[in-house]
Symmetry: C2
Subunit: 252 residues, 2 copies
């Protein structure tokens, strides 16, 4: 999905000299690799020898504390790149939530191409910036939001299609545990909160792992917090429209 968006951008308004190939073009020729739901693509600490592009399916990026506490640092969707790194080891484990199809590229090759094609570097940089913004929004979410707000935000995030629009039917491929470990709460609290939302008539279950949003506005105002400017839902991750200024520090 992100893939499509960028491809479109490349073709149309090419911010680079000519309409040159995007980052995803590096993977186009690579064979598809499939992973079963639950299997790991790579492990935290592994040699970071490859990069992957998600073609189909959903994955989770997991970190573990030594005492077993689990943190899901993010979910990956089609079009997302994983394994980009300047370091030599993966920082987290990536596991398939649904069956997944990926294309693999060696890191050596990737870096060569990045070096050769400056516009790819620009794209990579831009992507990193977006990632950074998302990470900060996640920080805000985790540090100062109640269980209700967290879940509302999560549901809104999941309700977005590839263009950032909110759909009423929401598919939730991950388990409650995944949600909990992403939002920094327990499955029980997640469960309670969803029950509460259902009882208030804001959402309704349409299946075990899918639901419908009945009152989108109510859900938005629950998720609300700092979105005075956009008026729209909280920017948790992966929200193309209305992203505003990332600001990085760390000097030279």
């Amino acid at each position: 999905m992100s893939l499509q968006v960028v491809a479109i951008r490349d073709a149309r308004e090419a911010p680079i000299p000519l309409s040159q190939p995007g980052l995803s073009s590096l993977f186009d020729r690579q064979p598809l690799e499939r992973f079963d739901a639950g299997s790991a693509v790579f492990w935290e600490g592994d040699d970071a020898a490859h990069l992957f592009q998600v073609t189909a399916g959903i994955l989770r990026a997991v970190r573990l504390l030594s005492d077993g506490r689990r943190i899901i640092v993010g979910f990956l969707r089609p079009g997302d790149l994983l394994g980009v790194s300047l370091k030599d080891r993966y920082l987290y484990t990536v596991e398939a939530i649904t069956p997944v199809a990926l294309r693999r590229l060696s890191r050596r090759r990737f870096e060569e191409e990045i070096r050769r094609q400056p516009q790819l570097r620009d794209q990579l940089f831009s992507r990193l910036c977006d990632e950074m913004t998302a990470a900060q929004d996640q920080t805000v979410l985790l540090s100062r939001r109640s269980a209700d707000e967290k879940v509302a935000n999560f549901l809104l995030m999941m309700s977005r299609d590839e263009f950032g629009n909110c759909t009423r039917i929401v598919d939730i491929p991950m388990t409650r545990l995944d949600m909990a470990d992403y939002l920094g709460m327990t499955i029980e609290t997640v469960s309670r909160t969803i029950t509460k939302l259902t009882n208030s008539g804001i959402i309704t279950a349409t299946g075990r792992r899918s639901m419908m949003v009945l009152k989108m506005d109510a859900l938005r105002s629950l998720a609300d917090g700092d979105n005075g400017e956009t008026g729209c839902c909280q920017r948790v991750r992966d929200m193309p429209p209305h992203r505003d200024g990332l600001t990085v520090w760390k000097s030279a």
Copy 2:
């Protein structure tokens, strides 16, 4: 401090053709600007027209939710860059905690130079990667750590000198409120936790805003969690040594 480290790196083992100027060289010629403690360098939502390099003092990067909840996204120290952005508005407010000295550069000029000097782009990219790693560590800290662990981590972070070594004397220029808004807790809990650490003989107050670590190991094991590999303190931010693999996603 980061500034020095990089300068040294440039001079010695130059990962780039010759020993070319670092990012900070862009700011060297700019005049010093001073800000009083408590004053803002820029505001969330402002036009992101300039970049700044911290020469002296400590600052905080603050975001506000509409209902007044405050989140400190990070603290900035000498050598840190602020205002790097691909977007056109600052994402957060930056305020001086202590009196501060900065050098300012227009964004236009910065981007020109980045475009002209590829090795600067490399440095910027590398810095972004570090930032990303730090942001993820912060995510872990906020989502799955108890008050004790958070405060222990914070104190260890503050106890690091410019080379990443832990000093016994810790200076804490920020208020309890700043700490609380950074760690996602209340001032009372911060205070109670520090008292607890003092009563356990792990730290001792040496002044209103400074303390001494009496049992560094105990503090480390409190802060502990996922540091099996490094054996060292939690990587919260700004820890030069032993940083391991950042892995970014978000495709092309």
